[in-house]
């Protein structure tokens, strides 16, 4: 389609898919591209707000490009698997063709950019406002309590025993940093599934980062001594080296990551694996909420004045999405949404106060379970277990309407499901509410 001579350049809508590690960002992006490629088929074609969109086309010109091929391969393989976790940041660009009247001067094309990146790195956004003592204080407040105090009691004790003013032992520093990274890796795995694992690049380095080049660790002696002012460390001491390397990490890794990718977003999807955190229990729930609140702080929301919008892009739409809703029976799917609202109440209230469009919803990027009705009228779900690859029939627990204030809630034995067989690129993947999410994000 040829644009009218009066048409302005093709507008680009940048959508940040924000979520912690294992929230399902890559799967969601793969599903979103698939739905946009099949925009005139399935439930997306019925969305009134998207009726002008006639065609979606994944562009291979983005750098670095999101590996849609790998995502498709994983999902359509036999047996199908979930797309692999992201190891570096990438962009998915989709060009949409819009049917407009011949006299319209509005663009007939629109580019959608979806940002993918390792969820581990998102946590580094917490560091943007912290100097080194603040970092140590925050990490100490987490490590002095269960379950972290139990996971790495020895390491925490050793870190607390280091005198920040003593001359640094570089080999020991590297060893402690290595052990700290191992501790972070242990914390995020079941059964703990903790989210605040800082610094993020210790877990997943990326292409240009080498932790050995600028090693640092949190020094808990700073907090144990009770001082509040920024301390002065002697040259080449533990404190001086860690402070210098921490600031280098913050200013050369965390800040550019934010300014390059997140400062110019138009819309944001905040993905939360609420069911996953609930299977780990109260600590995981508390940690995930705190991590989300912390990471969302640097984003700028709202439309403000038109003059301000000329100079600075701001997020106008935010969708808070609880994933894996297909792991629940239909009656509980509604409860998952209200549970997410109650779980993230303060975040939602904070966002609702900005002049943005906000939507809290439960979604499933690719539906992995199917409802089975028994002869006695009861319902259960069938799917394929992710770990064993075998079929599993189960009745998920009934969820409460709201989250207990102390988050004292745990789901036992909820299977993690693998994608269904028979997915095909030429048809929209069966999902839940992906059409509504796209309609919300792409509405003119």
């Amino acid at each position: 389609m040829v644009n009218s001579p009066f048409t302005l350049k093709t507008p680009v809508t940048r959508i940040g898919i924000t979520g912690l590690s294992q929230a399902g960002k890559s799967t969601l992006i793969t599903a979103l591209i698939n739905h946009l490629e099949n925009i005139r088929r399935g439930s997306l074609a019925k969305q009134a707000t998207l009726k002008g969109l006639t065609h979606g086309h994944w562009l291979r010109d983005a750098t670095p490009i999101f590996d849609y091929d790998a995502g498709l391969h994983a999902l359509t393989n036999s047996p199908p698997t979930w797309p692999r976790s992201t190891t570096d940041w990438s962009i998915a660009r989709i060009e949409l063709t819009i049917d407009r009247p011949w006299y319209s001067t509005k663009p007939r094309r629109r580019i959608i950019e979806l940002l993918d990146y390792p969820g581990e790195w998102l946590l580094d956004l917490c560091l943007l406002e912290w100097d080194y003592p603040a970092f140590c204080a925050a990490v100490w407040s987490w490590c002095s309590q269960t379950p972290r105090a139990e996971i790495a009691a020895d390491l925490i004790q050793q870190l607390a025993a280091i005198d920040p003013n003593a001359p640094v032992d570089r080999a020991y520093l590297l060893e402690l940093q290595q052990r700290w990274a191992e501790f972070l890796a242990d914390s995020r795995l079941p059964p703990h599934q903790l989210s605040r694992n800082l610094p993020g690049r210790f877990l997943l380095n990326g292409t240009n980062f080498s932790p050995e080049r600028h090693p640092f660790i949190p020094l808990f002696a700073l907090n144990l001594s009770g001082g509040t002012a920024t301390p002065k460390f002697p040259a080449n001491s533990w404190g001086a080296v860690c402070t210098q390397n921490y600031l280098s990490y913050r200013d050369h890794e965390a800040k550019p990551f934010f300014s390059r990718h997140f400062q110019s977003l138009d819309a944001q999807v905040i993905l939360i694996d609420l069911l996953g955190a609930m299977t780990a229990g109260q600590s995981a729930l508390k940690d995930m909420r705190a991590a989300l609140e912390c990471t969302l702080q640097p984003f700028t929301y709202g439309t403000d004045h038109w003059l301000g919008r000329l100079f600075r892009r701001k997020i106008r739409r935010v969708a808070v999405c609880a994933t894996k809703m297909d792991h629940l029976l239909p009656d509980d799917q509604k409860r998952l949404q209200s549970l997410a609202e109650s779980y993230l109440y303060e975040t939602v209230q904070h966002l609702a106060a900005k002049s943005i469009e906000l939507n809290v919803m439960a979604i499933a990027a690719v539906q992995a379970a199917r409802v089975q009705e028994e002869p006695d009228g009861t319902h259960s779900l069938i799917g394929r277990d992710k770990r064993t690859g075998q079929g599993v029939q189960f009745t998920p627990p009934a969820l409460p309407q709201t989250m207990p204030h102390n988050l004292n809630l745990k789901i036992d034995d909820l299977p993690q499901l693998a994608p269904p067989a028979g997915l095909d690129r030429t048809r929209p993947f069966p999902g839940r509410r992906i059409d509504q999410l796209l309609a919300f994000l792409l509405a003119d």
Binding site: G42, S43, K46, Q47, A48, T49, K51, P101, W102, M278, Q282, P330, K334, Q337, A352, E357, L358, N359, V360, Q367, A369, R370, V371, Q372, S380, I382, G383, R384, D385, T388, Q390, G391, V392, Q393, F394, T395, P396, P397, A398, L399, P400, P404, N406, N408, L409, K410, I411, D412, P415, P420, A421, G422, L423, D424, R427, F429, P430, R433, Q436, F440
Partner: protein
Amino acid sequence: MNKAPPPPEQILRTIIHAMGDQVPPIDAEQIHQDQTIEAEPEPLLPTKHPHWFTRLVTTALLIWLMVIWSQAIVWGWALSPLVGGLLLACGLALLGGFLLLGWQARRAKHKLDAIADIQAQFNQAKVPHAPQTGVLNLSRRIAALMQKKPQQAQLLQMLSTVDESWTYSELAHELEHSYGAQDRAAAKLIQREAIRTGIFIAASPYPLLDFLLVAWRNVALVERVALIYQIKLSTPARWHLYQMILRNIAFTTVTETVLDSVSQSWLSNVLLQVGVRAGQGVGVALYSVRIGHQAMRLCRVVPESKPLVDRNIGKMVIEAVRSKTNPA
């Protein structure tokens, strides 16, 4: 003092019924079949895309008019610069007038499109498990539509109290309540007009008069319903309603023709003839009710939750037409 033990965790248990080969395999095709696409509400107005031939004819007509106008200006200028200038000014005034009308029609269309969109949003929220967020934005959109209308002050006041804690059903309920007086007035008008049109048709002796009567009364009905709701009907909306009116006229004409041809041979009984004419009037009246009902639906931001026009109105119309046409 002993530290109080932490409260026991609330455990939600999953029941595993079977694993392995006992569980039937699932594939995407089955899930596709299970998924009932959440029904999009029926659009208020049919979506129309102008045919290429219509575009061609319109463009040709416009070019032809421009050429004629230019020729007229050249001719007038040759005759006298005053005549040429006058023709130019007249043409520009006409063009300006048409552009103004077009702009107004476009605004009206956008307004009705926005109403249809808002109604669709309300209908979507009715679907089980649909998200209930975004009510505040919706209420702002409604308030923006209703501004500059003194009659809607109560509605605007209600909308100013809406916040994010509201659900769509609560907002719809409040809007229904705000529309109460207008709904009653419109329903009353539709009933009165439908009965009047039905009686006219039943009593009218001339087919041509029937045709004109139906057109006149139905167009007036649509305009007055829109006036009650303070909405300016757009050209597509008007055209959609006029199509319904045309169908009503067609019904009148066809029944009239059939009645004429049949009455010569079969309906020798006068009472039977009167009965058939009353039936024709009832048919026209009921169709008028439908037109009025559709006009009401077009003008309200909230979809109807209960019938806007009383279901008994059909019976009332039948009774009224029958009693007027058959006083015995």
